[in-house]
């Protein structure tokens, strides 16, 4: 039994002065190199099982949406005569006859709709539209919002006051109403532009509906991003490295681009990722009420909307787009949450 040492005693402990053994030395060796912000965040993100699973799901859906239609034998607008209203994995009489002759007929995995179009390939194209809208709209929002917010925050004073007042006003405008209104009224001038001016004929290849959505979303959704970026810049611009950059004669543009925006990258990434599901949400809503992307291009929203009319006879037609849209939104939400925890713990409420 060791005698308890008086805490006030100045007597030295001999064991403290013994040479260190190998085990102790090992524990003092710096095992890990200093990690960068990115590596640290990525490491935390990789540990998050839910977020990683969601990432895998999203990659699988992307493959399904962008690569799937290339290998699928039917196309999304192809109306197969005689194969209307087939149940999943069902063959029409003609196709059965073909099969009897020994020809290979690819099955309609999810059946066909009332016009004889294959549901599976329409689901792929619909997911493609959703993903495109989500990602492109969010990138546009990121570009506009971050530049606007950075300028307002960096210059401050009157510039900031006027710029943020504009943001306040757009922020209070009920977005969904204006989006619907713009969607309805923008379509015609855009079509006109695409058909009369040859330089704008590319609009037709992407589709007027999609372009409309991009324009309208980027017109209204950037304000949230601008606010977040501005508050970050306000904090960052007081720091020494900005003063140093100024002293070295860097231009305003360079300071904003190289020093300020790169330093709030974490916030930018997280906000952009969380913007994706909300854009997809709105797009599916617009397509559902019939003003999103134009037929024959399918969208998950319009597929669900068409399924309602036949809900009692063909309930399975509703389930495919419904599950797909929920899965996409859920996965992006979870990835966004994971990124936020990994890169920007401050944002967590």
């Amino acid at each position: 039994m060791t005698k308890e040492k008086n805490p006030l005693s100045l007597q030295l402990d001999v064991s403290d002065f013994l040479p260190a053994d190998n085990e102790e030395k090992q524990s003092l060796v710096v095992m890990r190199q200093s990690v960068s912000f990115w590596r640290d965040g990525l490491r935390r993100f990789k540990k998050n099982k839910i977020a990683m699973t969601s990432l895998v799901v999203i990659i699988a859906i992307m493959l399904f949406a962008f690569v799937g239609p290339v290998f699928y034998p039917y196309s999304y607008e192809q109306q197969i005569r005689g194969s209307e209203n087939l149940a999943p994995m069902q063959y029409s009489d003609q196709e059965l006859a073909l099969k009897a002759q020994g020809e290979k007929v690819f099955p309609h995995i999810l059946g066909t709709d009332s016009l004889g179009r294959d549901t599976m390939v329409r689901l792929m194209m619909g997911s493609r539209v959703s993903l495109l809208v989500g990602i492109v709209a969010s990138v546009l929002v990121l570009l506009i919002g971050s530049v606007y917010g950075a300028i307002a925050g960096y210059f401050g004073g009157k510039v900031d006051l006027i710029m943020m007042r504009i943001v306040d006003i757009i922020y209070t405008v009920p977005d969904i109403l204006i989006i619907i209104l713009l969607m309805v009224t923008l379509k015609f001038p855009l079509e006109n532009l695409a058909n009369s001016v040859p330089a704008f004929s590319w609009i037709n290849t992407i589709g007027v509906g999609l372009i409309c959505i991009f324009i309208v979303f980027s017109l209204l959704y950037w304000v949230g991003m601008a606010r977040i970026v501005r508050s970050q810049i306000l904090m960052l611009k007081e720091q020494e490295f900005v003063t140093a950059a100024k002293a070295l004669g860097a231009s305003h543009g360079r300071i904003i681009k190289k020093h300020l925006l790169t330093n709030c990258m974490g916030t930018l990434i997280v906000t952009t990722t969380l913007q994706i599901p909300s854009s997809i949400f709105t797009e599916s809503f617009l397509s559902f009420i019939g003003i999103g992307v134009a037929a024959p291009m399918p969208s998950l929203g319009s597929m669900a909307s068409q399924a309602i009319s036949g809900i009692s006879s063909y309930p399975y037609r509703l389930l495919a787009p419904a599950i797909m849209i929920s899965l996409i939104i859920l996965s992006f939400n979870l990835i966004g949450d994971g990124l936020r925890d990994a890169f920007d713990p401050k944002l967590k409420d």
Binding site: D168, I169, T172, V173, P174, I176, L177, I178, I180, L181, L182, V184, T185, F188, P189, P277, F281, S284, F285, F288, I289, G290, I291, G301, A304, S305, A307, I308, I311, S312, P315, L318, A322, I325, S326, I329, L330, N333, L334, D349
Partner: protein, 305 residues
Amino acid sequence: MGKYIVKRILLAIVTLWLVATITFILMNMVPGGPFLAEKAPSEATLKALNEKYGLDKPLIVQYKNYLTRLLGGDMGPSLKQRGRTVNQIISTGFKVSAKVGGISVLVAVIVGVTLGSIAAMNRGKWIDNVIIVITTCGIAVPSFVVSTVLMLIFSVKLKLLPTYGLSSPLHYIMPVLALSFYPTSYITRLMRSSMLEVLGQDYMRTARAKGLSQFKMLFKHALRNAILPVVTYLGPLLAYTLTGSFVVEKIFTIPGLGNDFISSITNRDYMLIMGTTIFLAALLITMNLVVDIAYKLIDPRIKLK
């Protein structure tokens, strides 16, 4: 305080003016006059009609007339529903929508606050996990998916609930469920995190130490403080209920304002589109203003700028 309120009211007025101006510009951007709708009228009739509604005047005069009429509360005639004014359509539709929307908001707040508190008090237990999983899914599922799946289960398969109209209390069940699913999930998550924060505060320990009953501790101390973030969410909640109602009213064929709005879009009834947009915008902006001011009044910790 007064300064803040004045600032917010001014901002609201500017926003409303902006919405009205945007709608006016868009209305005039749309190809074809309002009277070219069905069969083309003769030139003389057209001229008379244009004169009657003041459409022969230059745009800037029309804009002035439009704003003055709007200030007087007149939103003009409907182009497709002959003989009805936009005001009449809005007032009948709004009564229906307000009922469904109001019940949904109530359900969302009551259920959300209860579930959120239960989850927070049972942190880490199975019931907390169940609630988290359900609400995580809840905020990812669009309202049209909820409505159609409900319809599929309760009307098509089980044949328990009616699919359209609002003639009995039974008719309200599905639309209200569909409309409140997302906000309930959101409020539950909001309530859970704010409740967890409150439960960790010192004054809760003091309350327990002085031997307050569980009931008193929960209702007098915890709930009162934890519910504040939910109050701020009321503004966005209203906006959500509105957009949700567009879809839900369409699916369950409820003759509400959302349905009017959607059908006015598909019918290209421009006067009605503009009227409903301005009405709904005014409603939303006012409600947001009221909620924000109420929030500042409720929470004494918030400093007014």
